[in-house]
């Protein structure tokens, strides 16, 4: 049985309210917040980046399970906010957890779904017995251009998964992907902020791929959506996952455990990994979890997990809930300094 053997999450301590961002740009904060169904977003400190977040998640994951880091044969870090254009965060993570030197890895980019693409990669490597354990991380300090719609939600955070075939806490029953070349969101080389296709981001992008991947997995495995106890859809905001669930007649109760965007924002590559971590924090043995990520450009990875009794052995704090509750509010000025939106920094 191959699946998740441990996981670790991390959300920076700082939050900015959507209404505070709206105030700076002369918008109605209440209206924006309700429209997006996002109240506040997590902001990395001035000395954090997607690499430090990746390291924190990797350490949490290792700390939960009794795994010798030297047995981790591959580390993939998915991010769209890499601190270096060239020079992998994967090797920094490997060094920081003591997995060096017998380890492969790379940094992956597929907008918001690079974290789950890494999970598929290490799943394949473990299943083929190429490595004993593999680590897949999704971590971002996502940036929205000031006064752009994405600025209200682009957030910081991430999660790591160790995939293996011993002491599995959630069996990865099956996975598949639905990808097409859809230019809904991009950032050109050397550009600081991404561009997006406005209204083009919803129907032909998010919904088509999320629902496409979910239906593809349903046909492949022959399940019914009722078979799942928990469902995680990518949450670019609080609204899209609710609508995707509605289209598939999945009740909100099944989304609730992993519905974190309203209080964390969209942590891009770290979004679905964080949401899945929140579900694993409370899932009971025998429960089934459907996970569908979404990355612009565009693609969705769908997974079916089945929780095993081993979940209890790794149920150690800090939980995603603890990170969500441990927060300090900052205003737009401090946010601009932390995220280097002030030109001289």
């Amino acid at each position: 049985m191959v699946g998740i053997v441990s996981y670790g999450a991390y959300i920076p301590r700082y939050r900015i309210k959507v209404s505070d961002i709206a105030r700076v740009w002369g918008k109605d904060g209440e209206h924006v917040s309700q429209g997006l169904r996002v109240k506040e977003k997590a902001v990395a400190a001035i000395d954090e980046d997607s690499c430090t977040i990746a390291v924190e998640t990797a350490k949490q994951a290792l700390g939960r399970a009794d795994i010798d880091p030297r047995n981790i044969g591959a580390i993939f870090v998915g991010s769209e906010s890499k601190p270096f254009a060239v020079n992998p965060s994967a090797s920094t993570v490997a060094e920081a957890i003591g997995a060096v030197p017998n380890v492969t890895g790379a940094d992956l980019e597929f907008a918001c779904k690079a974290g789950t693409a890494g999970m598929q990669a290490v799943y394949g490597m473990v299943k083929s017995k190429m490595i004993k354990y593999g680590m897949a991380i999704g971590a971002d300090t996502a940036q929205g251009k000031p006064n752009d719609a994405l600025e209200f939600t682009a957030a910081s955070g991430g999660a790591a998964f160790i995939i293996g075939d011993q002491n599995v806490i959630a069996e990865l029953e099956d996975t598949c992907s639905f990808s097409t070349d859809t230019p809904d969101f991009w950032r050109r080389a050397h550009q600081e902020f991404p561009e997006h296709g406005g209204r083009f981001t919803a129907e032909p992008a998010y919904y088509k791929h999320v629902i496409g991947a979910a239906e593809m997995l349903r046909e492949k495995m022959g399940f019914d959506y009722d078979d799942f106890d928990h469902v995680v859809f990518h949450q670019p905001n609080g609204k899209f996952p609710l609508r995707a669930a509605k289209k598939l007649k999945i009740p909100f109760e099944k989304l609730s455990a992993g519905y974190i965007s309203p209080v964390v924002g969209n942590t891009y590559s770290g979004n679905v990994p964080l949401a899945l971590s929140a579900v694993l924090d409370i899932a009971k043995p025998g429960e089934k979890i459907l996970v569908v990520s979404y990355g612009s450009g565009a693609g969705s990875d769908a997974f079916s997990f089945k929780v095993t009794p081993n979940i209890k052995k790794v149920r150690k704090a800090p939980f995603v809930k603890d990170f969500i509750e441990d927060k300090v509010y900052i205003d737009y000025a401090i946010y601009a300094k932390f995220r280097k939106k002030i030109k001289s920094i």
């Binding site: 301590r13 400190a45 000395d47 954090e48 430090t52 390291v55 924190e56 920081a96």
Partner: protein, 132 residues
């Protein structure tokens, strides 16, 4: 400003995961790492050992005038942290509100950017400590 590259690279085991030294002859533990045990000299046998990531504040200071490269983080706190094995080290404090910083406060290691070397050089990562 900026640290030289060989130093950043050489310090990675210490800064990334608190690797220190232990002398197998006398049992003394050192951080940062040492090549020889100053107590046992030639008889000493030095091996790597990982330091605990938890400890408490032994002493601290608030910095209002920063060295180059740290100006945007002002004001910040630095501390001498006493690790659970008794080793003391100097560190910046991260994410720690003023009202929680006191002598004896429990801290744990976090992984942060130390210096960015002007945005063009290598980013020096390493430990800071956070008040729990």
């Amino acid at each position: 400003m900026g640290e030289n590259l060989p130093l950043v690279w050489r310090k990675m085991p210490e800064r990334y995961r608190l690797v220190g030294s232990k002398c197998l002859n006398c049992g003394r533990i050192y951080f940062p790492r040492r090549k020889i045990c100053p107590h046992c000299r030639r008889k000493g046998k030095i091996v790597d050992i990982k330091m605990p990531e938890k400890g408490k504040i032994y002493s601290f200071s608030e910095v209002h005038s920063a060295p180059p490269g740290f100006e945007n983080e002002l004001p910040y706190f630095v501390a001498i942290v006493e690790l659970q094995n008794g080793i003391k080290l100097f560190s910046m404090l991260a994410d720690s509100p003023r009202n929680k910083i006191r002598i004896g406060a429990p801290v744990k290691m976090v992984f942060r950017k130390i210096t960015e070397n002007d945005g063009k050089g290598i980013i020096a990562y390493g430990y800071k400590f956070k008040v729990l």
